[in-house]
């Protein structure tokens, strides 16, 4: 699948942003006034900024509001609703903390639940696609949720939670990669089932001499040969570096480095999430 920069930026930043909102909603850390303001600004910049970036890849962004209509069947529509609901609930909750020094616990919990549900909906957009076997697994929502909670804890300055959750996310990440490498075979979709033809099937001539939308969007294969190296970079930057930096004695600049390393590592992992994912339509072209 084509790794569109807007979608990578969106899922990375908004994942971390909604993760931070989740912790703020739980009242961890229990901040008020100006410091609460600072936390909420960061969370909204990440979460809402990511959502804005995601509209960049639409063919018709001016009609984006129509995406709210099909929540009964579409995870993308559900994500739209949940993200707006989470941002509104947390705005009201945050206003209480910042301006009147009051915490409304139930509102915070509601906001936290909505933030988590938003991340789940985002992950389900990918998980539901059976035509991309690498994504079509319960490990995908597990990875998105663990990463969002871990990244959020990192941003919220929750050292113990961040350590535990990032370690957990790293385990899920490795499991996701390992399962992913055999996912296409596991799906039982191959050139024989795609064409229904008997015997050994080889693509002889493609239907068109140039590239087309399908090849550009769904048969993206550039950079797969570096996948192993990139997995290493993602693991080191996204998981290992923040954990190490959290274990050394606390300094603000170290925490900032930990956050930046984490976001960079997760962006690499998201790039791989798309670039490595094989869409079964590639089989019609004799590719994977």
């Amino acid at each position: 699948m084509h790794p569109a920069p807007s979608v990578i930026v969106f899922t990375t930043l908004s994942g971390a942003g909604f993760g931070l909102l989740f912790w703020l909603g739980l009242g961890v850390p229990d901040v008020r006034g100006l410091s609460a303001f600072a936390f909420f600004v960061i969370a909204y910049l990440l979460a809402a900024g990511g959502l804005m970036a995601s509209t960049l890849h639409l063919g018709r962004p001016e009609r984006a509001l129509k995406a709210f209509t099909q929540w009964r069947t579409s995870w993308l529509s559900r994500e739209a609703w949940l993200s707006v609901a989470a941002l509104l609930a947390m705005a009201a909750y945050g206003a209480g903390l910042v301006f009147v020094d009051t915490r409304v616990p139930w509102l915070g919990w509601l906001g936290a639940a909505l933030a988590a549900a938003t991340v789940l909906a985002t992950s389900m957009i990918y998980t539901q696609i059976a035509a991309v076997p690498r994504w079509h697994t319960a490990l995908t929502p597990a990875l998105f949720l663990a990463l969002s909670a871990g990244g959020g804890a990192l941003l919220a300055g929750q050292v113990t939670a961040a350590l535990a959750l990032l370690a957990l996310a790293a385990v899920v990440q490795i499991a996701w990669w390992l399962r992913g490498d055999g996912a296409l075979a596991l799906s039982r979709t191959d050139m024989s089932s795609a064409t229904g033809l008997p015997g050994r099937v080889r693509a002889f001539e493609p239907p068109h001499t140039g590239p087309n939308y399908l090849l550009r969007e769904m048969v993206f294969r550039v950079g797969r040969k570096h996948a192993l190296k990139l997995r290493g970079i993602a693991l080191v930057l996204g998981y290992l570096a923040p954990v190490v930096l959290l274990l050394v004695p606390f300094a603000h600049w170290l925490a900032a480095v930990a956050v930046l390393a984490h976001l960079a590592g997760i962006a690499v992992s998201r790039w791989l999430f798309f670039a490595e994912a094989e869409h079964v339509v590639g089989l019609y072209y004799g590719m994977r």
Partner: protein, 250 residues
């Protein structure tokens, strides 16, 4: 609405005969010709006369080389357009309701005025039957020529999809696959029509007829005739014979 209908009154679709398709791409051209000036936005081309042309098509023809267990390899031409699936994953993922499946005839369509061009439906389709138009920013797909098959301004024989009407080999058939007595259903039963990627759970309406086994008439006869094709005059006469003998002596 992107809920799929429980059942559809009819299941209109295509039956594509892989045995008779000659790979001429006439259906590709006629499909583009009809659909670029009828339902919805035109099917745009980018850099059509330049070095890197590409464009939107609703129907494309692949070609495969098949090596059966026994016998000679075969070349199979393989037209592919939307299969108007009963459990169409492209419909349920759509956030706007632009993609829908009609309850009356089962045709899967895109209402382009509602489409935001998110591309999710193209991801969800395992067959590559949907293409985003680069100029218009909306999703295009086979309409089963919905603006021909019910079009009373057309002569009766033209009220079939453009690709079916055009095919010079009669490799594309149109009809109601929900009616077991229809011509297309009988054809499917007779020829062992099959689904593409059945394991994807999309329940396609369109069916593909497998290539018939090649006749083996020639192969046995050729084996029987093989001895008579052996060289008959091993010993050359005259000057060549002398040369042959002379060279053999060395």
């Amino acid at each position: 609405m992107t809920d799929l209908p429980e059942t559809t009154d009819r299941k209109l679709g295509l039956v594509i005969d892989l045995d008779t398709c000659v790979g001429c791409h006439a259906c590709v051209v006629s499909c583009k010709g009809w659909n670029t000036e009828n339902y919805g936005a035109p099917l745009s081309d980018r850099d059509p006369y330049g070095a890197d042309p590409s464009g939107t098509f609703l129907n494309r023809v692949h070609s495969y080389e098949v090596e059966p267990e026994e016998g000679a390899p075969q070349l199979v031409h393989f037209p592919k357009s939307c299969l108007h699936c009963e459990d169409a994953p492209c419909v349920t993922v759509c956030p706007t309701g632009a993609s829908f499946k009609r309850g009356a005839d089962g045709i899967v369509l895109v209402n382009e005025a509602d489409c935001i061009g998110c591309g999710l439906c193209a991801w969800a389709c395992p067959y590559g039957a949907r293409e985003m138009d680069a100029a218009e920013g909306v999703m295009k797909k086979c309409t089963l020529c919905v603006d021909r098959i019910y079009n009373e301004n057309l002569a009766q024989e033209d009220r079939v999809p453009a690709c079916v009407r055009t095919c010079p080999a009669g490799a594309r058939h149109f009809g109601d696959l929900g009616d077991p007595d229809s011509d297309v259903s009988r054809l499917v039963a007779e020829r062992g029509g099959m689904d593409l990627m059945p394991e994807q759970g999309t329940t396609p309406v369109n069916k593909y007829l497998p290539p018939r086994p090649r006749d083996t008439l020639g192969t046995g006869a050729r084996a029987a005739q093989a001895p008579s094709l052996e060289p008959v005059a091993e010993d050359a006469q005259g000057w060549l014979g002398w040369l042959d003998r002379a060279l053999s002596r060395f």
